[in-house]
């Protein structure tokens, strides 16, 4: 039988506010354990939460970017459960009146609906001594720095139908949240966390199969692998005639499989009820309109613009728009007058290579849009070859500079002087008589060797067309 997966994702995105959602402690990553805490976020008796309006604003911003309806009235609820990282014994969240509802985003032409997005506070973090978890540890410590950090939980509809699509959805969602500057989107640091609901059903069947919830996936790759592994597990189980048990399963990166969480830890009745310490929030339409007016261009719009206005291929447009930083720079280079195709190639090729190689962000580089324009001009004028252009580009990324100055200083200007080049080529041929006779004996492949030797002798600055021309002349003579 053929099965089709049905997948829904729940994402917890940490909102980039200066302070926490219900107190004035700093909300950023880092700090010594329990350095960013106060009586409110460690749940001391008698303290009260006060809502951070900036967190609400970032939630509205996210909702609008995800095509959601923004609630006119929203409220907070208490979600009750005991755990040492939850200082009040309840989490302030939103239950039946989330701030955002009914949105969607598009991946590869397919619309994935968003069921809801709601605000809540993060819990603290446990550090266990002598074991991976609370169970079996010698002792455990709590760090409340993260407690009270604002989160937006974004819940998709079960519209995703493959592990690959799940990864694309997540990447697009993260990209959107980064574009609108509400979330760092860092999976490793936990500022962007994902749980997946996975079920399978025979193709053509209407009813949904029993779902499981997968947790503990810390990278895009892990999400894709975990979901695929769970799909495979469920299909295999069904084919053996077994039933799927509704449960929470943890992804194990090392074994590449999911395993069930201990049932004791998930048997929760959260006993939601309205948070009496906060009043319902009326979200004025003027506020929503203001936030809407301040929304930047979104990835989808940018991709379309690159294809239509700059005539990039859809693939290139997609690749370039994936990074807001890189494509922001691309846009500035366009304003400076750089040609689109060449700029896109330089950014997506050698620039991305350089960033990966040095493990840095684009914001840590020094190139200016004018540099980019000059670089491409030098390339088009024949002053630089593609190989020397790359060297200049790396210099510009490394430190502030000027194309002409670097070319001069490093002696990278393309050698197009016919007399000089003829001398170099002649020397290469005289130094390698054996290869010359091979060539003349019919081994024409040796020609590549001569070309390489000439380039080596000129440190890549020789004008390739001229080298070819001179080689032809001297070898056929």
């Amino acid at each position: 039988m053929n099965y089709e997966p049905v997948i829904g994702l729940e994402v917890h995105a940490q909102l980039k506010t200066k302070s926490k959602i219900f107190c004035s402690c700093p909300a950023g990553f880092g700090g010594n354990p329990n350095e960013h805490v106060c009586p409110v976020c460690i749940g001391m008796p008698g303290v009260l939460p006060v809502l951070n309006r900036r967190a609400v604003e970032l939630a509205i911003r996210s909702g609008l970017a995800l095509n959601c309806e923004i609630a006119e009235i929203t409220k907070f609820d208490r979600k009750n459960y005991f755990y040492p990282d939850l200082p009040k014994g309840y989490q302030i969240s939103q239950y039946d009146q989330p701030i955002c509802r009914r949105g969607h985003l598009t991946i590869g032409g397919k619309e994935i609906r968003i069921h809801r997005a709601h605000l809540e506070e993060d819990a603290g973090k446990l550090v266990h001594a002598g074991a991976a978890g609370l169970h079996g540890s010698e002792y455990s410590l709590v760090d409340f720095n993260r407690s009270g950090v604002p989160l937006l939980e974004i819940v998709s509809e079960p519209d995703i139908s493959s592990a690959e699509e799940a990864r694309c959805y997540l990447m697009e969602l993260r990209n959107i949240l980064r574009y609108i500057d509400v979330c760092d989107g860092n999976l490793e640091e936990g500022s962007f966390r994902c749980d997946a609901n996975v079920s399978v059903r025979p193709v053509g069947q209407k009813e949904l199969g029993t779902k499981t919830e997968i947790k503990n996936m810390n990278s895009f790759r892990a999400v894709q692998r975990a979901i695929q592994s769970e799909i495979d597990r469920q299909v295999a189980a069904l084919e053996r005639g077994e039933r799927i048990v509704q449960e929470t399963r943890l992804w194990n990166e090392a074994t590449g499989t999911t395993h069930p969480m201990r049932s004791k830890e998930e048997a929760h009745d959260y006993r939601y009820f309205p948070e009496p310490d906060l009043v319902p929030l009326v979200v004025e339409r003027e506020w929503v309109n203001e936030v809407s007016a301040g929304l930047p261009e979104l990835p989808e719009q940018r991709r379309t613009r690159y294809v239509e206005q700059h005539e990039l291929s859809p693939e290139d447009a997609c690749l370039l728009a994936e990074s807001k930083e890189l494509s922001d720079f691309f846009d500035r280079a366009m304003l400076a007058g750089a040609p689109a195709k060449a700029a896109a190639n330089l950014l997506m090729g050698p620039t991305v290579w350089y960033l990966n190689e040095n493990k840095i962000e684009f914001s840590q580089t020094h190139i200016t849009p004018e540099n980019m324009k000059d670089l491409i001009e030098a390339l088009n004028a024949g002053t630089l070859s593609s190989s020397t252009a790359k060297q200049v580009l790396f210099e510009l990324l490394k430190a502030p500079g000027d194309v002409q100055a670097i070319v001069k200083e490093k002696g990278l200007a393309q050698m197009s002087d016919e007399k000089g080049l003829t001398e170099v080529v002649s020397k290469v041929l005289t130094d390698n008589p054996a290869q010359v006779s091979d060539f003349r004996g019919g081994k024409t492949k040796v020609r590549q060797f001569f070309f390489g030797e000439v380039m080596k002798a000129t440190r890549g600055t020789a004008n390739p067309q001229m080298v070819n021309k001179i080689l032809d002349e001297l070898l056929t003579r």
Binding site: P39, I42, G43, M44, P45, G46, V47, L48, P49, V50, L51, R78, N80, F82, P84, P87, K88, G89, Y90, L134, H135, V142, D269, R271, Y272, F273, P276, D277, L278, V279
Partner: protein
């Protein structure tokens, strides 16, 4: 020295302003009185001696510098031990918080301090303010100064006793279902629960957040009015506090009730009320009529459901509010537990008293899946009905009256075996909290045993001033407030 005990705020102000006495002397006189009566009454969980000395010295400096004295300069005040004052324990009379010292100050404490008040100590209460006799204190019983065989009421029993016995001039209590008004009634003093949101709850250890409200207790209405003005007003740290200007309540005490329309709540002036209580309340209503108010009966049938609604909503909120006492961060922890769950269980089992555990169970049940709609949600709907019924009544009346409590103070142990009997103590005060209204209890007579009887006056939302005005007019026209508890008249 003794003559400094039993004075009102204005009397002390005159003495201090005229440099007849110093704040230190006022404090010393009260300390001396505390030393003599506290061993028997047991109103305090702790005395804040160092803080009081510093506060008195500050007031004396103001006097010496010829500064204008703030409204409560040099006035000894007692704070219920669920209101946070840094440097001293805030225990809520619970073993689970026995060692807890908050690093922050309640907004009311801050405002009192700015107004020059002198904090003499933190008063005993029913554990986490859950109770009507202060017998649920995890530490000790507090005795009624009118008759020490009787309970003082609760949960703000310690605060009512401190004021009635003269150990402090005024006190703060908290009122979730009657916890200021009922002990005020039992102890023969005035005690007010302001409109919900009038006074900041920041630094008040929560019992039921949508019902809790801090309020003053005093031996006269003027003291209550002055204190209420000091502690009222918007607080950025409490999202439920109202951002409306605060009147100078003392100026509202005109003695004039001419033309005031007063409704006597028929559901709360019949069955279930002791005859002597009803008699005094009827006389009081007639008295208000003689002062020029129009008095009529009014029926509020929905109030019959108030007790049931209250014990669902208050316990539901409490079940969440008290979840933080889990032995992890502060307070009592059972040390021998083998794992997390048994640590939670043993810490809470041993740290909380019986009544607190009963209410946590009740509230947890009311919120549980499958029961939420039938209990918590239904209770919220009936709460709205009660509120609407009050709103309709206030379209016809300016004030409503009824007894504060069905009985005078009862003996220790008389109701501890029957929680429902104990809960019925608050049958007349609970509807006021559910509707968020201002209510006050003032002395209106004495029972056959010589114990005080309280009259409750209830106003519309933000009608705190008219509640105070009518209560004051009644006080001025009668002698009840002048009768002092034996402990104080002997001082």
């Amino acid at each position: 020295m003794k003559e400094l005990v039993g004075k009102s705020v204005q009397e002390l102000r005159a003495l201090l302003g005229g440099k007849a006495v110093s704040a230190r002397e006022v404090l010393a006189a009260h300390r001396q009185h505390i030393d003599s009566v506290e061993p028997e009454l047991q109103a305090f969980n702790c005395l804040t001696e160092d803080l009081a000395a510093r506060q008195a010295a500050r007031v004396d400096k103001l006097i010496a510098d010829g500064e204008v004295l703030p409204p409560l300069a040099g006035v000894p005040i007692a704070l219920k031990d669920n209101i946070c004052v840094p440097g001293y324990p805030t225990t809520c009379s619970s073993r689970i918080l026995e060692s807890y010292r908050p690093p922050y100050q309640a907004t009311v404490a801050e405002r009192l301090q700015e107004a020059g008040a002198i904090f003499v100590g933190k008063t005993n209460l029913d554990e986490f303010a859950m109770g009507s006799s202060t017998e649920n204190s995890g530490f000790k019983p507090t005795r009624n100064p009118w008759n020490t065989a009787m309970v003082p009421g609760g949960s703000s029993g310690g605060s009512a006793v401190a004021v009635a016995s003269g150990m402090s001039v005024i006190a703060l209590g908290s009122d979730t279902g009657g916890s200021i008004r009922q002990p005020a009634s039992f102890c023969g003093v005035a005690g007010m629960k302001p409109t919900y949101g009038r006074v900041s709850r920041f630094g008040l250890v929560a019992f039921a957040s949508s019902l809790d409200q801090i309020g003053p207790l005093g031996r006269c209405l003027e003291d209550v009015a002055i204190t209420l003005s000091v502690i009222s007003g918007h607080d950025g740290k409490d999202s439920t506090s109202l951002s409306l200007p605060v009147p100078e309540y003392v100026k509202e005490l005109t003695g004039d009730v001419e033309g005031l329309r007063i409704g006597v709540i028929s559901e709360l002036t019949g069955q279930g009320m002791d005859a002597e209580v009803l008699e005094s309340v009827e006389l009081a209503a007639r008295q208000l009529g003689q002062l020029g108010a129009g008095v009529e009966e009014v029926s509020l049938p929905a109030t019959r459901h108030a007790l049931a609604v209250y014990y669902l909503i208050a316990t539901a909120e409490a079940s969440a509010n008290l979840a933080r006492y889990d032995g992890v961060k502060y307070g009592y922890r059972h040390r021998q537990a083998e794992d997390l769950l048994s640590m939670y269980r043993a810490s809470r089992q041993e740290g909380f008293g019986v009544e607190v555990k009963r209410r946590i169970m009740l509230g947890t049940y009311a919120l549980s899946s499958g029961y939420y709609d039938a209990y918590y949600k239904k209770a919220q709907q009936v709460r709205r009905l009660i509120k609407e019924e009050f709103d309709r009544a206030f379209a016809r009346f300016d004030l409503l009256v009824c007894p504060t409590s069905p009985t005078v103070a009862f003996e220790f142990g008389a109701r501890t075996g029957d929680p429902l009997q104990m809960y019925l103590s608050d049958i007349a005060t609970i509807p006021v909290n559910l509707a968020g209204l201002p209510g006050i209890s003032i002395p209106c007579g004495f029972g056959k045993s010589g114990l005080p009887i309280g009259l409750q006056l209830i106003g519309p939302t933000l009608g705190d001033a008219q509640v105070l005005r009518a209560a004051h007019a009644f006080e001025q026209a009668t002698e009840f407030h002048k009768k002092r508890s034996p402990v104080l008249s002997a001082a």
